[in-house]
């Protein structure tokens, strides 16, 4: 583990009193390797190491903790600070109903499943959510969301594969408004950030909906590419939050730091399984420990 590696590195620091640029070089190298192995983006790692270096130089090597433990604490605290405080992870639902939540992201990241999970969660919170299938491309995508809606007992718009997604969301929004639903959850097709037509479509869908939440759904096992993808989606849409899915696996989840770093937007929810009740709030300290290994 990184802690044991740092303990070893810092054994040589005994009696040196303060952390300085020279004596923390090896420690920084350990952290750098660990973060790269955790899939944190290469450039994000570079910046992080620089921040840690600045923060830790001159720090007293405390007598209560061994230097290795103290250094890890600095690294850990810095990572938690970067991953965001816990207050801004709540969904922003305090608006005139129906509040619109739009879900976007790459193919296969877990958007449709996450829409089902959010509907389930909001229903448990005594809200009246309405699901909208706006993916008219993927085979049986509409059916997938309808099946989930039926499983959890939430109403869903009857989209047809020939429909235009912008027409669908406009009609569904108007219907939801007239029929007293307080939250609209819109599932969109997986798309590449480099697909100009699809990025234009998602921008049009956003304009039609004026969503209060635009959630970028990302797979926790995403590698270096997380930065490019998140940045592009954010540049086009100004996302309001991130959902990290498949966190029930053993992916270290460095993509979380990369995405937060490049977009400045908070991770709001975490997918912890395939079933509809497997959605949790994001806890920065938990993922910080995981990324650091």
């Amino acid at each position: 583990s990184l802690t044991s590696k740092l303990e070893e590195t810092f054994r040589k620091l005994r009696g040196q009193g303060k952390l300085n640029e020279k004596n923390i070089q090896d420690a920084l190298k350990d952290v750098r390797m660990s973060l790269l192995e955790a899939d944190v983006n290469f450039k994000v790692v570079k910046q992080f190491i620089q921040d840690i270096s600045e923060r830790s130089i001159g720090t007293e090597v405390m007598k209560s903790l061994t230097p290795g433990q103290q250094f890890i604490k600095i690294v850990h605290d810095e990572m938690i600070r970067l991953l965001g405080s816990e207050e801004d992870t709540a969904l922003d639902l305090a608006h005139k109903p129906p509040v619109v939540i739009m879900v976007v992201g790459l193919q296969g990241s877990g958007k449709t499943t996450t829409c089902g999970k959010m509907a389930y969660m909001l229903k448990k919170q005594k809200r009246r959510p309405y699901l909208v299938p706006a993916d008219v491309y993927r085979p049986a995508a509409i059916s997938q969301l309808k099946t989930l809606a039926k499983q959890i007992g939430v109403d869903v718009w009857d989209t047809n594969p020939e429909d235009d997604p912008v027409d669908v969301v406009e009609a569904a929004l108007s219907y939801a408004r007239k029929n007293g639903y307080d939250t609209l959850i819109v599932d969109t097709a997986g798309r590449l950030h480099i697909d100009e037509d699809m990025m234009a479509e998602i921008t049009d869908i956003k304009e039609a909906l004026d969503p209060k939440e635009i959630l970028f759904v990302a797979d926790a096992m995403t590698g270096q590419d997380a930065v490019q993808v998140a940045k592009t989606f954010n540049d086009h849409l100004s996302i309001t939050g991130v959902v990290l899915t498949k966190m029930d696996g053993d992916a270290r989840g460095g993509a979380a730091l990369s995405i937060r770093s490049v977009t400045g937007k908070p991770v709001k929810l975490v997918g912890m399984g395939e079933k509809v009740d497997r959605l949790e709030r994001f806890y920065p300290d938990r993922i910080a420990s995981r990324i650091l290994g």
């Binding site: 790269l36 192995e37 099946t147 096992m221 270096q224 498949k246 053993d250």
Partner: protein
């Protein structure tokens, strides 16, 4: 007296940027650069082009296992089991392979082995229609082994050339689901001796180092014979397959380059290496 010969700091940084950004991973990157430092002469290590070409050669050697597409004619019916974690593109890749085989005049059958996820069988049904393949499906929640057993039996009886068995996505960390997959494999053997002939792991090019864990775990559980790398039409380079092919000796068969039925290519190692450096 001269000390150990090493790459110049500038070249090292440039190569690390390329390799790390491509998800090659720290261990594999370090191993590759170490080989280059041993292979090349002192002056060669200062020349960017020479180093780059040597690196491309080393990577090529690691990923070229000499066998791309599986020779489906070897068995009749040839039975392929498709596995992998959630959302990587298993079902879509099956549709593409089925279409490719259909174009070559083969009679293809699809087995809807994902009896768990919402609308999984409906999704495969669309692909069976698009690729003109037969489909065997079960009831929602039915034991996937029994659906696949029926499919193999049916495929044999109907003189099918290739059977492609879809399975539900699952994380390699889910013990019970990995056991389920082992049972599916055993059941195929019971239905028809010697099957499955190929166990294809589907990996998503956007995945980072966790892909290595996935490959190891699925390989330990089942014995993989091939890999399909999807979503290479994005910006991810899929560098994780270098470590996987080099350590596990499992060949990459196909690459997915889009969501459409014809967006499947046979893996070309030299093309892959060029793309890494572009």
């Amino acid at each position: 007296l001269l000390g150990k010969k090493t790459l110049s700091k500038d070249i090292l940084e440039e190569l690390e940027t390329i390799l790390f950004s491509a998800d090659v991973g720290t261990k594999t990157t370090q191993a590759l650069l170490r080989v280059i430092e041993e292979k090349l002469g002192r002056s060669e290590l200062k020349d960017n082009d020479t180093v780059r070409e040597a690196l491309k050669d080393e990577i090529y050697k690691m990923i070229n296992l000499g066998e791309s597409e599986y020779k489906y004619e070897k068995h009749k019916p040839c039975v392929i089991m498709i596995v992998g974690v959630n959302g990587v593109g298993k079902t879509t890749t099956i549709g593409k392979i089925a279409a490719r085989l259909n174009q070559k005049g083969k009679k293809v059958m699809l087995a809807a082995g994902d009896t768990f996820r919402a609308a999984a069988d409906e999704q495969l049904e669309v692909w069976s229609k698009r690729s003109d393949a037969m489909l065997v499906r079960g009831q929602p929640g039915q034991d996937p082994s029994s659906v696949i057993f029926d499919a193999v039996k049916s495929g044999v009886a109907r003189d099918v050339d290739v059977i492609l068995a879809d399975t539900a996505g699952r994380l390699h960390t889910q013990q019970n689901l990995m056991e389920e997959l082992k049972k599916v494999r055993r059941t195929m053997e019971k239905a028809h001796e010697g099957t499955p002939h190929e166990i294809l792991l589907v990996l998503d090019a956007t995945i980072g180092q966790n892909a290595v864990n996935q490959a190891k775990e699925f390989n330990d559980a089942l014995g993989l014979t091939g890999i399909a790398l999807t979503k290479l039409d994005g910006t991810a380079k899929g560098g994780i397959i270098i470590a996987i092919t080099n350590e596990l000796k499992i060949p990459v068969r196909y690459v997915g380059v889009g969501e459409h039925i014809d967006e499947l290519k046979i893996f070309d190692p030299s093309e892959f290496v060029e793309a890494l450096f572009s």
